[in-house]
């Protein structure tokens, strides 16, 4: 059959330069993506742009909303809390996630099981998980009961509605975003390198420090960025388990929208978006991180 078709396609190929200046076949991927692109344009890109525009043209063209941020104590405190929480959460995820990623990669028969355990919370809604943390961390929650039973405390301590509660819950929710890129990087390390290091006189710890850790840095960078940027925009969890005075940027935005203070909300959103983009832009320039970007994009 292909032999019959060949002369025709050959003829087409020869005549293409004159008769077919535009190659429709190259447009096929674009056409396939067109419905989604259109959807995203109408229901996502346009509203975002419209919303962001409110920060500079409400009520008329002005940059005054941004200018006021420099004297805005509430904004500065909120921004600092948001940034601080994101850093803490990211570090927590890294410290807890790296060993898990190593375990995941080293486990053979157990690997699918471990993966399900890591991903199970991932498939549960953030809202449900935040409620679960409220139950666990409350005054009569499991954590307090356990500490009382062990005699480590005399009366229930306040965990819920503190920054610590926010950090614990966010670390739990964001852990998979840290574990998976690191596990991916670890999996790509040729096992013979680890054997070679061992054979050349390197103890397991020295092998980890000199070979495994440096070769997994691309995954660490990708996981750190992903976790940090996601943590910056977290809303539900800090709103539910966090302290009433520890307001994050996203909570402040929601509050301003509630009060129909659109221009201020739009300005804060623009700042949050700009911060996330700026971090990505700077991180891309770092050696090693750029590679992680390219591989995670592939």
């Amino acid at each position: 059959m292909s032999e019959v078709a060949q002369p025709a396609s050959l003829a087409l190929a020869v005549s293409r330069p004159q008769t077919a200046p535009f190659d429709w076949r190259r447009a096929v991927p674009l056409l396939l993506a067109a419905p989604l692109l259109l959807y995203m344009l109408v229901f996502y890109a346009l509203p975002v742009v419209a919303m962001l525009l409110r920060s500079v043209n409400d009520p008329s063209w002005t940059l005054s909303h941004y200018a006021t941020l420099f004297d805005d104590v509430v904004f500065q405190k909120t921004f600092w809390i948001t940034f601080n929480t994101s850093v803490t959460v990211t570090l927590g995820c890294l410290i807890l996630g790296y060993p898990v990623a190593m375990g995941l990669v080293r486990a053979k028969a157990m690997a699918p099981f471990i993966l399900v355990i890591i991903l199970l919370p991932f498939w549960t809604s953030v809202l449900v998980r935040s409620y679960a943390w409220m139950v666990l961390l409350g005054r009569h929650g499991l954590v307090n009961e356990a500490l009382l039973a062990l005699g480590m405390i005399d009366r229930p301590i306040r965990i819920l509605n503190t920054p610590l509660a926010t950090q614990i819950a966010m670390i739990h929710i964001l852990l998979p975003y840290m574990i998976l890129p690191i596990a991916n990087a670890l999996r790509q390390i040729d096992p013979s390198l680890i054997r070679a290091a061992s054979g050349l006189g390197s103890t397991p710890f020295m092998t980890f420090r000199q070979i495994i850790l440096p070769l997994s840095m691309s995954g660490v960078a990708a996981g750190t960025l992903l976790t940090f940027v996601l943590a910056l925009g977290f809303y539900i969890t800090p709103a539910m388990v966090g302290g009433p005075r520890d307001i994050t940027l996203s909570m402040l935005i929601a509050q301003q929208v509630d009060q129909l203070n659109w221009a201020y909300a739009a300005t804060l959103s623009a700042v949050l978006l700009a911060t996330a983009l700026a971090i990505l832009a700077v991180a891309r320039k770092l050696p090693g991180v750029g590679n992680a970007f390219r591989t995670s994009m592939r």
């Binding site: 040729d190 013979s192 054997r195 070679a196 290091a197 050349l200 390197s202 070979i211 070769l215």
Partner: protein, 375 residues
């Protein structure tokens, strides 16, 4: 000397390695054959020993057990008389070159070669000197600042060798180190490996499935098959006096002639093959009437009427028919058939002076008793 254990002149520069009844079974549950089955080998100090065998013969597994990356199921490994089975790889002080070189991609050539020295706490200036020396040894001076990916396959291989010998181990293990290179380069590097072995004077254990490589480089070869050692000996031993059919067939080309034993005279077996009396060398004493296989090399057979026949040894003779004749440049290759249907290959050096045989022609072939082995 950096390496530990070089304590005195009683032991040479190379380590001796003794494998006793070494066994490895990956799948203990099933009745599958063992991956390594009662392998016993005595590797002498300073020897170049090659483990040769097809894939799955257990040669690499044996090497990995010596290196310490695999734990034997049974048996013992002793280096310089001391058992190392319980010792982790990083304490064994063995150099190793991997099949894919296993160079650390994030380290420069200098850092790669200096790696084993760093692990041993060698101070920086000393390290730099030894690294330079090792790179000199493998003819790669001036490449220290490059990364492995900037090197060709052959250069990477040299770096891997430099890294494996820089800390002056007394034993070097190599797992098909030339397998990924093209033929020309492989032949050059084979010679370099021999030179390196002579220069360093340490013990080399080399694993390959390439018989030519094994024959060219080794002092002794251990032929492995199905997890067992089929034969250990010098390249000449294995080629001229194979002890079993596997070795005769795996190393070089062999003809196998079915025969029946008629008697034994000193070390020579008298057997009957296709109605002709054939004499063969045999260390054992097979019983009369026993069915055996005789083996002989194609290039050691001659047509009886050609002028090549020497008179120094008694000859075996057989009548055959030519079934195929191929001119291959430096030699002619004939497919022959004996009266009982046995196929025999004969290789004759080509010369314009020698008459070429035609297909269907009947001929007499002759060869020396010394080139006939009972397997």
């Amino acid at each position: 000397m950096i390496s530990a254990g070089t304590n005195g002149a009683d032991i040479g520069r190379g380590a001796s390695v003794t494998l006793s009844d070494l066994e490895k079974t990956y799948d203990r549950a099933s009745a599958a054959p063992k991956d390594v089955d009662r392998v016993s080998l005595d590797i002498r100090s300073g020897e170049f020993l090659t483990m040769l065998g097809p894939s799955g013969s257990g040669k690499t597994t044996t090497l990995m057990m010596i290196a310490g990356f695999e734990t034997p199921t049974a048996g013992d490994i002793a280096i310089d008389g001391k058992s190392v089975v319980a010792m982790p790889p990083y304490r064994r002080n063995i150099g190793m070159v991997f099949q894919n070189y296993a160079l650390f991609p994030h380290l420069t050539v200098e850092e790669n070669v200096g790696f084993p020295l760093k692990q041993r706490g060698v101070p920086k200036p000393e390290r730099a000197r030894l690294v330079a020396e090792a790179l000199e040894l493998v003819h790669l001076p001036g490449y220290g600042a490059r990364y492995p990916r900037q090197l060709s396959g052959g250069q990477q291989q040299r770096v891997a060798v430099a890294r494996a010998v820089v800390f002056k181990p007394r034993l070097l293990l190599m797992d098909e180190p030339l397998g990924a290179l093209d033929k020309q380069l492989r032949e050059n590097l084979q010679l370099e490996m021999r030179r390196l072995h002579a220069d360093l004077g340490i013990t080399f254990i080399y694993v390959t499935h390439d018989q030519e490589e094994a024959l060219t480089m080794s002092d002794r070869i251990a032929v492995m098959n199905d997890g067992k050692v089929a034969q250990v000996g010098t390249p000449e031993d294995l080629y001229d006096r194979p002890e079993n059919r596997f070795v005769a067939g795996f190393i070089g080309e062999s003809n196998f002639l079915p025969a029946v034993v008629r008697g034994v005279e000193n070390d020579v077996v008298i057997a009957e093959c296709d109605g002709a009396v054939i004499r063969a060398l045999c260390p054992g004493r097979p019983a009369s009437g026993e069915k055996v296989t005789l083996t002989t090399r194609p290039e050691r057979l001659r047509f009886a009427d050609s002028a090549w026949i020497g008179e120094q040894m008694p000859q075996n003779c057989l009548s055959v028919t030519v079934t195929e004749a191929v001119f291959a440049g430096e030699r002619c290759r004939y497919m022959l058939q004996a009266g009982d249907g046995t196929s025999i290959v004969l290789k004759e050096p080509s010369s314009a002076a020698i008459r070429r045989r035609a297909v269907g022609e009947r001929a007499e072939i002759a060869w020396s008793v010394a080139d006939t082995i009972l397997v």
